[in-house]
């Protein structure tokens, strides 16, 4: 028993963050270590229940002796590491990442965005007025694009996709964090209804041949909506209330309950506004579901009240 413990016990690693010594478990990330110290690190593509995609790069930190910055969300701590989280170099890259994102994507429903932009003094406007939505964006060919004149800033804007009753997809708001693809695929749902398609700036989330969701493999578990950090994927109920200008989180009550549909007993959180269930989530920290549900739990209760409308 004692020996077993010895074999499996993880060692502690000593490092330094912003001049402060820290001791964390081996295998922790720099982000974990920063959190332990109360350092607030911006993150966008990081998801508590997913393997880090480390693609947004807003969490980058400076490592002494390294040629380039490192993503805090995925880089593991090493003994003797000297990390800077607020150097001029770090601030510059975080600022530019936020500017580049904000100038190309509609961040109006990304809760974290406004605070980050302000904190880093990002000036997305200096890249030019945003270019309008392009209905052809989903069909762009890899390796080709039209030469720009630079008078507008290219954007990810494309027409909103409303092709089913349960949720809408507004990829003008998509920061390409890969979370929906990862959760739909091998990391949770095993459905693989969506993937990243295209390349470079024209990369986008897509079904095969841009098929509408009802023709795709989607089973409407809504787990992609739950992980989407930007509101690009949104319950129809929320989308409609927002369009009417009456979406108001402050007025919403949250009630925890157990899903009535099967024996698994998933935890549900019902978000209720004006006696209507407007959204259903599941707590990330639940052992079994880890934020995931199936179509019945996610949409079933809502559907009942939608029909009653």
């Amino acid at each position: 028993m004692g020996e077993m413990q010895h074999l499996t016990a993880r060692r502690m690693v000593d490092l330094e963050i912003d001049g402060e010594p820290v001791r964390v478990l081996e295998g922790s990330t720099i982000l974990d270590a920063c959190r332990g110290l109360g350092i607030d690190t911006p993150t966008l593509c990081y998801g508590e229940t997913l393997r880090p995609a480390n693609v947004c790069r807003v969490c980058v930190v400076e490592l002494e002796g390294a040629r380039v910055l490192a993503p805090a969300c995925s880089r593991k701590v090493e003994p003797g590491m000297k990390v800077r989280t607020d150097s001029e170099r770090v601030r510059h890259s975080r600022k530019l990442v936020l500017e580049l994102l904000s100038s190309s994507v509609d961040l109006s429903t990304t809760p974290a965005a406004a605070g980050y932009l302000e904190r880093y003094g990002a000036e997305p406007e200096r890249h030019g007025p945003p270019a309008p939505a392009d209905p052809g964006r989903d069909r762009r060919r890899a390796g080709h694009h039209e030469e720009p004149d630079g008078q507008t800033a290219a954007t990810a804007a494309s027409p909103i996709k409303i092709d089913n009753e349960l949720y809408v997809r507004d990829y003008s708001k998509c920061i390409l964090c890969y979370k929906c693809v990862d959760v739909c695929g091998e990391q949770h749902q095993n459905t693989f209804a969506i993937a990243v398609a295209g390349r470079g700036f024209d990369a986008r989330i897509s079904t095969e041949y841009v098929a509408p969701l009802p023709e795709s493999a989607c089973v409407y578990c809504g787990n992609c909506i739950a992980v989407c950090p930007t509101g690009a994927l949104m319950f129809t109920s929320e989308h409609e209330l927002r369009a009417e200008g009456v979406w108001d989180e402050a007025r919403q009550e949250r009630t925890d309950t157990i899903c009535p549909y099967c024996g698994v007993g998933c935890n549900l959180t019902l978000h209720v506004q004006d006696n209507r269930i407007v959204k259903v989530t599941s707590p990330d920290d639940h052992d079994i579901t880890r934020g995931n549900l199936c179509v019945k739990g996610r949409f079933g209760v809502q559907h009942v009240n939608a029909r009653g409308r």
Binding site: V97, G150, G200
Partner: protein, 613 residues
């Protein structure tokens, strides 16, 4: 995994293309019959089918070649055979420029409009095509065949500019490199390229890597042996695996693919890994604009690469190797396929290699039009059948590479150096070149020079000497600038020709040798337009994963466009510098990290746009 397939069937040709590669389907779920019904088309793929995921790109290429595009029916059938979800496969197919997900005519001309070809008439060639076939991408009847043309980034034929690649889809697909393509168009099919690789220094004493190019018959193993071939493998087997690595470490050989990493250290690290199997990957993706040296070796001396890979596999304990060859090199592919088959037939590859008791075999994997797949971890994803997106490092390839196993990745030129190192010993090799950059280096000289081509010189020769070897500036004009190291490199001025071409010399001058590109521009060149081409290249070739590069390359191109159009806002130069710094610092891989280098060097070093922004 339950696989939900589409309700579409492949055509006979599409099915034949897929089955031609995978063999006939064995059972219902992998393509014989499909169960349909209330649940849609559900196929349950076993482990075996999923383990063939790495056949996805070869299958897509086979369909593209045969049919000219990848229809939903064809994609669906490929998915069924390989147990890959259609959305996933669509994501992969849409990553590659040579694969089309919309109908395309059977005959397609890919015309290079990149840097070197712009110095040699690609503009006129494109005008001619527009005249004949209409605008880019439009379908036209041409001599009874539906045809279209597309612009292409550098095709790796810069010494024979302007270049084009002609593909004709069909049951017997054709691929022809047209270089130079000037005047070749009226007959389109007719004008293939000279089948014999030639180098300007052919037959000169002192050549090492190019010794056999143009002199040996690239299709004959016997002729290769008559020119000293396979002596190095014999010697390697005398030295033993550790002995080979010892010589390599002593030779101080640095990688020639761009990153200049010590090859001996890489091999040693993989050789020591207890995890099995180990894999060997030869990086022959060669897509850096201005680079064509690896092609010349593969076309002129293909057995040398096969022998060098066999030695690498012997030293590092790899039983299987891959040559990841860029999709636009049909001639190199044909010659390498032949060389591999010959070597196998004669016992130089396979179970018990020439009686030395070790086993090694290798296969070619073709790229499909993606510069990023030359990045050393993107290449793994591409071979494994995923989108060619670079992986975050660490872990490094020597620890977790192809299929998650310890992997040696080396450039073609790096590998071919191993032959002489083994034959003459590491310390003798280290006498050549400079202290820190040992051996000889291949330079790809193109643009406005009299004799473009691949030149081999010992490290430490100057840039001026290099240009003189190539006959100086074409037509006796004056030199405006040299692009050193490719689009991922940087510009130097005509008063810097005494720059020593060595890794340390380049570093001291804040430039890079990159993949050995020396692209000369004379005084007639509109450099800002060339910068636009470079910016467009990176914008097109970014994989799109990370924000700094995905959006940064776009903002960089837009700022340049404003400067070019004379409609700037006054802050363009600052913007280019700030975006560049973020791309350099915060991008995942070398593409984003170097994407602003050439542009910033043109601004800082050449003073292009001086007084603007």
């Amino acid at each position: 995994m339950d696989l939900r397939l589409l309700e579409v069937s492949p055509t006979g040709a599409e099915r034949a293309a897929v089955d031609g590669l995978l063999g006939p389907p064995a059972s219902g779920w992998d393509g014989g019959e499909r169960r349909t019904g209330a649940t849609g088309n559900v196929a349950r793929g076993g482990h075996r089918a999923r383990a063939r995921r790495d056949q996805l790109l070869p299958v897509l290429l086979a369909v593209q070649e045969r049919v000219g595009w990848i229809s939903p029916g064809a994609l669906n059938y490929a998915c069924q055979r390989l147990t890959v979800p259609p959305a996933d496969a669509y994501g992969v197919a849409s990553f590659y420029a040579l694969l089309s997900l919309e109908p395309r005519p059977s005959r397609v001309v890919h015309v290079c409009d990149d840097l070197a070809c712009r110095c040699s008439g690609s503009g006129a060639l494109i005008a001619e095509l527009e005249d004949r076939l209409g605008p880019e991408g439009a379908v036209a009847e041409d001599g009874g065949t539906a045809s279209a043309w597309f612009r292409s980034p550098c095709l790796g034929q810069c010494d024979r500019a302007p270049a084009a690649l002609l593909t004709i889809a069909g049951d017997e697909p054709e691929e022809h490199v047209l270089a130079p393509a000037r005047g070749a168009l009226p007959g389109l099919e007719g004008a293939a390229v000279d089948p014999v690789a030639r180098v300007p220094q052919q037959g000169e004493p002192g050549l090492r890597l190019l010794r056999r190019v143009g002199r040996v018959d690239p299709r004959s193993l016997d002729d290769y042996r008559a020119h000293g071939g396979y002596a190095a493998l014999r010697r390697a087997c005398e030295l033993g695996p550790e002995g080979v690595i010892r010589e390599l470490v002593e030779s101080k050989l640095l990688g020639r693919g761009g990153a200049a990493f010590p090859t001996g250290r890489k091999w040693d690290a993989v050789a020591r890994q207890p995890a099995r199997p180990h894999y060997l990957v030869c990086n022959a993706d060669e897509s850096e604009p201005g680079t064509f040296k690896d092609r010349v070796i593969m076309e002129g001396d293909p057995f040398a690469l096969v022998e060098a890979m066999t030695i690498a596999a012997y030293a590092t304990g790899c039983a299987h190797g891959y040559i990841y060859l860029r999709g636009e090199y049909p001639q190199a592919r044909g010659l390498l396929e032949h060389a591999i088959a010959e070597a196998r037939r004669r016992g130089y590859l396979g179970e018990d290699i020439v009686g030395h008791g070790f086993a090694f075999d290798l296969e070619i994997r073709r790229g499909a039009g993606a510069y990023i797949c030359g990045e050393e971890t993107a290449i793994f994803n591409s071979i494994e059948g995923f989108r060619g997106e670079p992986r975050n490092k660490p872990p490094f390839p020597v620890d977790e590479g192809l299929f998650g196993k310890p992997t040696v990745v080396n450039n073609v030129e790096t590998l071919v150096n191993v032959l002489d190192i083994v034959l003459e010993g590491g310390s003798a090799y280290a006498q050549i070149g400079t202290d820190a950059s040992t051996g000889t280096k291949l330079f790809c000289v193109s643009g406005h020079v009299e004799r473009p081509g691949v030149y081999e010189v010992p490290f430490g020769s100057t840039l001026g000497e290099m240009l003189s070897l190539a006959g100086g500036v074409r037509g006796g004009r004056s030199l405006q600038a040299v692009l050193l190291g490719g689009a991922a490199g940087g510009f130097v001025r005509p008063d810097e020709l005494d720059l020593p071409l060595s890794f340390e010399g380049a570093r001291a001058a804040s430039v890079t040798l990159g993949s050995g590109v020396v692209l000369a521009f004379d005084d007639t060149v509109d450099l800002p337009r060339m910068l636009m081409r470079i910016a467009a290249f990176f914008r097109d070739e970014s994989c799109g994963q990370c924000v700094p590069c995905r959006v940064g390359t776009v903002r960089q191109e837009e700022a340049l466009a404003r400067l070019l159009g004379g409609r700037g806002r006054g802050d363009e130069l600052a913007l280019i510098a700030e975006v560049g710094r973020c791309m350099r610092d915060a991008s995942i891989c070398g593409l984003g990290q170097t994407a602003s280098g050439a542009i910033e060097s043109a601004i800082g070093r050449l003073g292009v746009f001086a007084g603007k922004g």
